[in-house]
């Protein structure tokens, strides 16, 4: 399958990255090249093989469900680009 401008524009919207018109062709070409290269994986019969999502040699431990942190609002906001009145701020989303 080959990747066109329209698909790249759609992926970019999903990824929330604004691409300029002139960038779409360049990315389409590069991404298409990468996708063609990874298509060699289709040569392998993977039927019956379990997908591996992590190394997972050990069961993940569970900790007690209790509060271990908190009361650190200022530290959380310390790096926010535009904190306001003790909150993160964003452009208006509700009219």
């Amino acid at each position: 399958m080959s990747l066109d401008r329209k698909t790249v524009a759609h992926i970019a919207t999903l990824a929330r990255i604004k691409l300029k018109e002139e960038e779409l062709d360049a990315y389409a070409k590069e991404l298409d090249g990468i996708l063609h290269w990874v298509e060699q994986l289709n040569a392998v019969d993977v039927s019956g093989v379990e997908p591996m999502s992590g190394v997972g040699r050990f069961a993940l431990p569970k900790r007690k469900d209790e509060v271990t942190d908190g009361n650190c609002r200022d530290r959380i906001l310390a790096n926010a680009p535009e904190p306001a009145a003790g909150f993160f701020s964003v452009p208006k989303v509700v009219e």
């Binding site: 990747l3 698909t7 790249v8 992926i11 970019a12 919207t13 999903l14 990824a15 929330r16 990255i17 604004k18 691409l19 990315y27 590069e30 991404l31 090249g33 990468i34 996708l35 290269w37 990874v38 060699q40 994986l41 289709n42 392998v44 993977v46 093989v49 379990e50 997908p51 591996m52 999502s53 992590g54 190394v55 040699r57 050990f58 993940l60 431990p61 900790r63 650190c72 530290r75 959380i76 310390a78 790096n79 926010a80 680009p81 535009e82 993160f88 701020s89 964003v90 452009p91 989303v93």
Partner: protein
């Protein structure tokens, strides 16, 4: 007398213990060297005041008889580790001005062991690259040059600043991280030792995430013994990273006994790849001979799915990255480009904050995870990952460690390899398998190329058997007797 910056970690610990010099003197010598080598661009942020304060505190602890395992050793910290109150960039513009209010577990462990921070080392943006050319903070120069040629060579990546600083003697050792070869490939390019431990050996807490199922921190040093000392200080269980494993950390240094008699060394036939330099092929054979002379037994093995490792990696790593990097939204930290709507603010911030390679990987990752393509790409890659891991499980029924080249070529010049993303990805051909299987791997400098550049050999070990890996690595190191250094 040896210059303080030429000492190994082991040598410096010895000198500090004897009182031949103080941690403050050792740190000052490195700070002076760091200033003189600024043309390498190995550091993004230098922290000389902090270094001297830490060194003074170290001297006090030593006087009080409380010296730790890395007491007084000055380090470069890859700028992917969050350091409290010190700018942490991940090599990206999107973390503009970010000063964490917390410290990563690995660096916390190092400071508890007495180490001193010289500064934050340059890296490829979000650790995505094999040349250190994708950093927002500029390229890093490899301190090595080809004989009779003044072209600037890349230090490798993504831990390029770490590797260059250790090779150039402007850090005694450095932390790195390795998702597909980012410790081992730059170590090979710069003529130093780098070990990627088993997945789960070191905590990932406080390290800026790239691909969470592959990322692992490790030491970059000028000797295998130094790597053993430093890995011991970095490693250990951390309740804040549920994938860090709660098993004892052995005394790696004590395990360096030189005795590899009867050890079975796997030589995987599938690692003879197209485009590998004949010099590297010869060095690989010589490496097997060295180990054999020390009493080990080379055994030809097969890792049949090797050729699928790179394309598998370049689906899985971008998929995880696209998810991890969703957090850079202009709201909570770093860069923000103002806009009228929330979506536009996200899109403009991320367009301005991420570089081309990071965008490429986020887009690929988003695509392979998107509806309609998930099964064809991502799920298939996860199944291939199982097969690649299984190859190693089978091989390790026959052998104790596996010997391979570290990289297909020596360091290349800036501009070479960079037109085609896939050509650049081929740098990781010998290293990515190890990350996919979650195994430990070490790169040891083994020879100079005809052009006068360092070449490395890699050893791959069984899960959590870094002790055997380091022991065999030190035998290689001694046989290779790599004493060359950048001019």
């Amino acid at each position: 007398m040896t210059k303080l910056t030429d000492l190994t970690v082991a040598g410096a610990l010895d000198g500090l213990a004897k009182g031949s010099f103080s941690a403050k003197e050792l740190t000052q010598a490195h700070l002076d060297a760091m200033v003189a080598a600024r043309h390498l661009n190995a550091y993004i942020t230098e922290t000389p005041e902090k270094a001297l304060r830490m060194a003074e505190a170290s001297d006090q602890r030593r006087r009080a008889g409380k010296a730790g395992a890395m007491e007084g050793i000055p380090l470069a910290i890859k700028d992917l580790f969050c350091t409290e109150g010190v700018l942490t960039t991940a090599g990206s513009h999107i973390l503009h001005g970010f000063k964490p209010t917390y410290e990563s577990t690995v660096t916390t462990n190092l400071w508890k062991a007495g180490a001193v921070m010289l500064g934050k080392a340059n890296l490829d943006e979000f650790a995505m690259g094999s040349s250190n050319m994708t950093s927002y903070h500029g390229h890093v120069a490899n301190p090595w040059k080809r004989k009779g040629d003044n072209a600037v060579l890349v230090p490798g990546g993504s831990s390029g600043g770490s590797a260059a600083s250790v090779a150039a003697r402007i850090a005694m050792a450095a932390t790195g991280t390795d998702t597909g070869g980012s410790i081992r490939q730059p170590a090979a390019f710069c003529g130093i030792v780098g070990i990627k431990p088993t997945y789960g050996r070191c905590s990932r807490w406080g390290i800026v995430a790239f691909a969470s199922s592959l990322d692992q921190a490790g030491p970059m040093t000028r000797s295998v013994e130094d790597a053993a000392i430093m890995l011991g200080a970095m490693a250990g269980h951390d309740p804040k990273d549920s994938t860090s494993v709660d098993i004892p950390v052995p005394d790696f240094r004590a395990g360096l006994t030189d005795d590899i008699r009867g050890m079975k060394i796997g030589i995987p036939k599938e690692y003879r790849v197209d485009g590998m330099s004949p010099e590297i092929e010869k060095l690989w054979a010589r490496g097997a001979e060295w180990l054999k002379s020390a009493g080990a037994i080379p055994v030809e093995i097969s890792l049949p799915h090797t050729k699928y490792a790179l394309p598998t990696y370049y689906i899985i790593a971008p998929a995880e990255a696209s998810s991890n990097l969703a957090r850079y939204d202009g709201v909570r930290f770093g860069l923000r480009v103002p806009a009228d709507t929330l979506d536009e603010m996200y899109e403009l911030t991320r367009a301005a904050g991420f570089g081309a390679e990071v965008k490429r990987r986020i887009l690929i990752g988003t695509y392979v995870l998107s509806a309609g393509y998930y099964d064809a790409y991502y799920l298939r890659a996860q199944r291939l990952r199982s097969l690649i891991a299984r190859d190693f499980t089978e091989a390790f029924k026959q052998v104790d460690v596996i010997l391979t080249p570290a990289t297909p070529t020596a360091a290349f010049a800036e501009g070479e390899n960079s037109d085609d993303p896939v050509a650049m990805y081929l740098n990781d051909v010998f290293t990515v398998t190890v990350n996919l299987a979650g195994l430990p791997g070490i790169s040891v400098p083994a020879a100079l190329s005809a052009e006068g550049l360092p070449l490395g050999l890699q050893l791959i070990g069984k899960a959590f058997d870094e002790a055997t890996l380091l022991r065999a690595g030190q035998v290689l190191e001694k046989a290779a007797n790599f004493t060359a250094r950048p001019s």
